[in-house]
């Protein structure tokens, strides 16, 4: 049962009245726990404030790229799913009348489960709210209810995601030996391609920097971790990767649907750094990993585990603007637009380091509008970039990604001719995945030579010590 023609969860309809009763009882138990301090201390305060004080004035609707991108379909209004939860809460948990009609049945529950996955959790709606309510958080909390109480979550996030990461070390399924092999291969490629002898250091005790990439980069865009290896080697940074389980994969899908899985992954990542006695953790180009390990995990960590955690955006800025990497911006002689990953910008406030780097290495940078903390999500946020579900891909490309593509096309409006290569700089692995799919879906690489990639690749492409032509402009 789905409120639209798509499905992220493909929940089967209960086969008998008894099964339905069981499911509803489980949902109700989860609903109660969501509002209990022992069970949901992690987000009870903002959840209560939102549920008790949202006045449904709909100010948030126009801020939502999914609502506007869908042609303003009612079910995608940020308040729509929140209103269902709010009414359920008041009627069944608080036993209050007069707060609006709602019926606790399978249709309501299954719609709510699906609707929680029609929000990118980008919290642009919250930014617009005059009351301080946060309907993005409500979607997050609904996802938690289903996962933590009923064991219902998209398989890409849970069964093939965080569970695999905790078991094998990476959500990609890549174990430590596999990771080292992959990086050996990347090192060889980078050495040959750049002329700089690269050897990724592993498990170096006391290194200044423990770099943690989104391991998906290794498989889908190996030139990104490769570019980091080139930069750090050329700049003479003391750095290392960790071969501890989860120590070489920065992703933390729990951030999107399950506090328990979130805490497990974050604690293990930090433990990997503690064991190596590194001075700081640097998080590669992955927006949600930035927010997960730097911000959300912060209060979970006891003092001895609260190691400095910084963004690769600031590290790159220090290297490029500090003169440790000599760059020639004319090597990036093509239009570039910068995508702001929501997790880094609106949710962490990192807006300038990436711009300073970009301006130093690219002569033709175009801002999307709006940008920085008011950016629009790419439509792949909160796990959608890796989710396929039942026809879910169609939705994330046509609805969730519509606004972002409008922005991209506007930024490149004066240079759409295919003779001019164009680059969307997306310093986030999930955003890159979404851009890859959006560009392919609209045929924009073939017809207009719109390409995408990370920030590190642009830096290395501009490095004077690197053989020209690091960027290959080959679609993948």
């Amino acid at each position: 049962m789905s409120p639209d023609a798509y499905s992220a969860l493909a929940l089967p309809r209960p086969e008998s009245p008894d099964e339905e009763r069981e499911l509803l009882a489980a949902f109700f138990a989860g609903l109660e726990k969501l509002f209990t301090r022992e069970d949901n201390w992690t987000f009870l305060r903002p959840l209560l404030i939102t549920v008790e004080h949202c006045v449904r004035c709909q100010t948030c609707s126009e801020a939502c790229h999914i609502f506007t991108g869908s042609g303003r379909q009612e079910i995608y209004r940020p308040t729509y799913r929140s209103e269902i939860l709010r009414r359920l809460y008041f009627k069944y948990v608080r036993h209050k009348r007069w707060q609006g009609a709602v019926k606790l049945d399978w249709n309501t529950v299954s719609n709510l489960a699906e609707l929680a996955y029609r929000c990118n959790l980008c919290r642009r709606c919250a930014q617009a709210c005059p009351m301080g309510a946060d309907n993005g958080l409500v979607a997050h909390e609904i996802r938690k209810l289903f996962s933590q109480e009923m064991g219902i979550a998209p398989k890409e996030l849970h069964a093939s995601g965080s569970l695999v990461q905790l078991r094998t070390g990476s959500s990609t399924g890549m174990n430590p030996a596999g990771a080292r092999d992959s990086f050996d291969f990347i090192d060889e490629e980078m050495t040959e391609k750049t002329g700089i002898a690269v050897k990724t250091p592993w498990d170096v005790e006391g290194a200044d920097v423990l770099l943690i990439h989104n391991a998906g980069e290794v498989l889908s865009w190996p030139e990104n971790p490769g570019a980091f290896a080139v930069m750090l080697t050329a700049a003479g940074v003391s750095w290392t990767l960790s071969s501890e389980l989860t120590g070489y994969d920065a992703v933390n899908y729990g951030l999107w649907y399950d506090d328990v899985q979130f805490a497990r992954v974050a604690l293990r990542q930090i433990e990997a750094a503690r064991k190596l006695k590194v001075k700081r953790i640097v998080i590669g180009e992955c927006g949600h990993a930035h927010k997960a390990l730097t911000v959300i995990a912060d209060r979970l960590l006891p003092s001895d585990l609260n190691l400095p955690r910084v963004s690769s955006m600031t590290l790159m800025r220090d290297l490029v603007l500090g003169g440790r990497l000599a760059v020639d911006p004319t090597r990036n002689d093509f239009p570039v637009t910068l995508h702001d990953p929501c997790n880094m910008t609106r949710l962490m406030g990192i807006t300038e380091p990436q711009r300073e780097v970009l301006r130093a290495v690219c002569p033709d940078v175009r801002e999307m509008s709006p940008n920085r903390t008011e950016n629009y999500c790419c439509g792949g946020g909160s796990g959608f970039a890796i989710m396929s579900g039942k026809t879910f891909v169609d939705w994330k490309l046509n609805v969730a990604g519509a606004k972002k593509m409008e922005q991209v096309l506007a930024a490149f409006a004066d240079c759409m001719d295919p003779s001019i290569p164009k680059y969307i700089c997306a310093p986030c692995s999930n955003c890159k995945g979404q851009f890859r799919d959006l560009i392919a879906h609209r045929g924009l690489w073939k017809s207009n030579r719109i390409f995408y990639g990370g920030l590190a690749e642009l830096v290395v492409n501009a490095m004077r010590d690197v053989k020209p032509g690091f960027l290959e402009w080959e679609w993948r």
Binding site: E38, W41, L44, G100, A128, G151, R167
Partner: protein, 253 residues
């Protein structure tokens, strides 16, 4: 006499109810960090932001002008009535009368405009509960009655409030107005209309708060009861136990 006691009691209930709500939110566990940028820089920046939000409803102005033209008169009306009440003792009589009348007129206009929008706007109507209609109607009536008393009986609102405050009798319609205002004031803290309390916590204790709190250590000793198999909760397991453990292996059917 009874009306005066009712008014004072309502004022006390308003203060106690608002304090109760503030304590309720203050006593919720410290959440995980959940900031939202841009965050106004420094204490002065936060004060400026808050002042603009309270005095001119800046976010509504910025993001929803249609709402602002309705809700600003409503809120300004409340503020002016509060100013009039606060200046009953020391304020010049003419000033107090003018401010109270302006406040009541704006409150009536604002509440009627909000009510009309809730009744007719297809984006608002389905999301409006019976309680919302009741609340807005209550405000409209509370503003309309003293204005009617002024028109029909010449009972100027501030004079009426001053008489009630000093235990002097007032005309029946004016008395009804005071009774409604008293009941409304006592009712507000127990509804979502007490967002003046919630907003403080939403901004200062969630969105703008990146501090670490020792209280979280105690919260990690809470016992979660989530039932999904991968959580692995158990009677004696704390949040810390669960987070440090691997997910239990799920049994194959």
């Amino acid at each position: 006499m009874l009306l005066s006691w009712l008014a004072y009691l309502a004022g006390a209930v308003f203060l106690a109810g608002s304090a109760f709500r503030a304590v309720k939110y203050a006593r919720t566990p410290v959440p995980l960090r959940w900031e939202l940028y841009p965050i106004p820089p420094g204490f002065a920046g936060q004060v400026r932001y808050t002042a603009a939000e309270v005095l001119v409803l800046r976010e509504a102005w910025k993001h929803n002008r249609k709402l602002w033209v309705r809700t600003y008169p409503f809120h300004l009306g409340i503020y002016l009535c509060a100013v009039a009440v606060a200046s009953l003792v020391t304020g010049p009589r003419g000033f107090t009368e003018a401010v109270s009348l302006a406040g009541l007129v704006l409150l009536l206009i604002g509440s009627c405009a909000l009510l009309a929008a809730r009744l007719t706007d297809p984006a608002l109507k389905p999301y409006t509960s019976p309680a919302d209609f009741f609340n807005l109607s209550f405000f409209a009536l509370t503003a309309a009655v003293p204005l009617a008393a002024f028109a029909a009986e010449g009972a100027a609102p501030a004079s009426v409030w001053r008489a009630v405050a000093t235990f002097h009798p007032v005309s029946p319609l004016a008395g009804l107005g005071v009774a409604l205002a008293a009941l409304l004031a006592a009712y507000i803290p127990f509804t979502h209309m007490a967002h003046f309390v919630a907003k403080y916590f939403a901004y200062h204790k969630v969105r703008w708060d990146d501090h670490r709190y020792p209280a979280v250590a105690a919260q990690l000793r809470y016992t979660p009861h989530w039932s999904a198999a991968h959580v692995g909760a158990g009677e004696r397991k704390t949040w810390a136990d669960v987070a440090l453990a691997d997910p239990p292996k799920e049994k194959k059917p």
